[in-house]
Symmetry: C2
């Protein structure tokens, strides 16, 4: 799949701008000119949400009433269009070719996109929430059963916590049974994903660091689990019962997939504590590229502010890796010889300049 | 004050390394060679803690039993020494010249240091906790009364929350009175600091962005406050009483300095939502430089991974600003013509290379 054209109207600091893209696109410009806003528009058309804000009205240009954005993509040799209109009253009109779409969630899959930003370093350095969100977003994209169990798990967990707070333990077993069933699937899926990610991550890291660094990923469940989800379910059930007294005192369910975490190791030490910023950035890049390989779809790769924290050698190696992807968009505020031969789109104050 | 010499033994990936510094020092090297560890040693000698980990044993070189670091500074024309020994049993020996120091906290003030790292962007984009921590750390350095009130406030808050959870409201007024008294001072001091910071921040931003961006800072207290701390105290007291029912239901004190926040505006819009990464990085740099000016001491400025997110023009402007500071240490993994004339210390695998 290729994103061929993009039109932005009243979007962020863009008035009316038409972009024609190629396979490799370098969006270059000084700070605060609108580079990331282009990636934001692509992301919005792909996933129905922004990666910078939860309030879409913030995307409407200052003093304007609405924004309109449109993408033209070529997929399986057929040209398709996706457009979004959004105004200050939160009214939206989404279209795929000539069909109206009534919810952003239905955009999903039409123009798959992977975004890699400097904030991805939080998968390594941030709180466990960041890592759980990474696992959930990835698994939600490829496994509807995961979505089902995650929803069911959180609903049952809420019920159990309410009973704990009210000190009403009658019927708590019903919810514990649901929790244990869904938790065992969630744990199984997450652990499997981490095992799957390991090799492609190592491959990217080998290319970036020239085989000097060894990566490992380990899931850290608060409750024990086995390969067999049925055994895991029974063991969860037991442990929930055993923990009831403690949980009653705390007024909340202390262990389970809602608290789980995973550790990334670099040369056998936790990357969170031992990796340098350059190594952390390299690992986060490798994670995004591995996602692409595992999802196995024809996604667009967007890299915001490329090479932050990377030395010249690693930026050069990263460019070599990117050669194999079908379409890439890269933003940068630093002129770099490495990218001189690509399609360079220079942005200044929300306009393309030549 | 000038940091003249630094000796690192078994520290991170350094074996035995002696550094001789000048006024401007560029620490240059590829990723993961030990650049940041030099700044970490300076920070540790200055503030008795690391900015990368809370476990000092992580700083001991792999397979070694202890680390030893020593700084030689010239202050008021006199040469002084500070050293730290730390081993795997958490045993420490700290020395200032020939005097033993028994606690890390007593190091404070001997070799004042300000660190600016890419993580400072969290002051703008992160959770309110990050901004409160910034205010608290800054104020604690210059105002012992602030430390007194902050400690007293948290102690009283804990007492009130315990009473709320136990649903025991007798005597709660005693703690509310303490809370109101200390909260009014905390709010007053924080608000005053933000007013003080505004001009120096604007000055740096003017130099970085060439006068295109206007900055504002606004304190956002959950409870109303006046210029007069006595009036604020009385108003807090009233509001705590008024909130008691709601707080009883939630089991916690919902409003007060422990939940307060401040907003940074850029050209009248919240920087958190509207600033580009380059603008956010510029603001965080400006905040650190403003801190230096307000604290008005002869601090060392450490800038880790300089210019992340900045375009070439802004990096150049930043260098001009840094000219006026007494001593600076900058790490970078990218060769940059702008810094070619400075004292460049090239690091490779924990060693100085020439």
């Amino acid at each position: 799949m290729i994103l061929k054209k993009l039109f932005l109207h009243n979007f962020r600091n863009f008035d009316n701008e038409k972009f024609i893209f190629e396979k490799r696109n370098i969006i270059y410009g000084k700070n605060a000119q609108g580079k990331t806003s282009i990636l934001e528009a692509i992301f919005l058309l792909s996933l129905g949400r922004s990666f910078r804000t939860s309030k879409l009205t913030e995307l409407i240009k200052h003093k304007k009433k609405f924004f309109f954005i449109e993408a033209e993509i070529i997929k399986d040799l057929v040209t398709q269009k996706i457009s979004i209109y959004f105004d200050r009253n939160n009214k939206k009109k989404i279209k795929h070719n000539h069909t109206s779409i009534y919810s952003f969630s239905h955009l999903f899959g039409i123009m798959p996109t992977i975004l890699h930003s400097p904030y991805d370093i939080n998968i390594i350095s941030g709180y466990p929430t960041k890592r759980r969100r990474f696992l959930n977003i990835h698994l939600a994209q490829k496994d509807p059963l995961y979505v089902y169990h995650l929803t069911r798990f959180y609903r049952a967990l809420k019920q159990r916590n309410t009973l704990l707070q009210k000190k009403l333990l009658t019927n708590i077993e019903i919810w514990e049974d649901e929790i244990a069933k869904s938790a065992s699937y969630i744990t199984y899926a997450r652990n499997k994903l981490l095992l799957l990610l390991k090799n492609p991550i190592q491959n990217s890291i080998d290319s970036l660091s020239e085989k000097t660094e060894k990566i490992d990923l380990k899931y850290l469940p608060g409750l024990s689990f086995q390969e067999d989800t049925k055994k895991t379910y029974l063991s969860y059930l037991q442990q929930l019962e055993k923990n009831r007294k403690k949980d009653l005192y705390m007024g909340t369910t202390q262990f389970g997939p809602h608290r789980d975490d995973f550790t990334i190791y670099i040369s056998k030490k936790p990357a969170k504590n031992y990796a340098s910023e350059g190594q952390k950035y390299s690992i986060s890049t490798a994670i995004r590229l591995a996602e692409y390989k595992i999802l196995n779809y024809n996604a667009i790769i967007n890299i915001d502010d490329i090479g932050v924290h990377l030395d010249e050698k690693r930026i050069y190696n990263l460019k070599q890796i990117l050669e194999s992807f079908s379409q890439i968009f890269i933003t940068t505020s630093i002129k770099n010889e490495i990218f001189e031969k690509e399609n360079i789109i220079k942005i200044q104050e929300g306009k393309i300049v030549y």
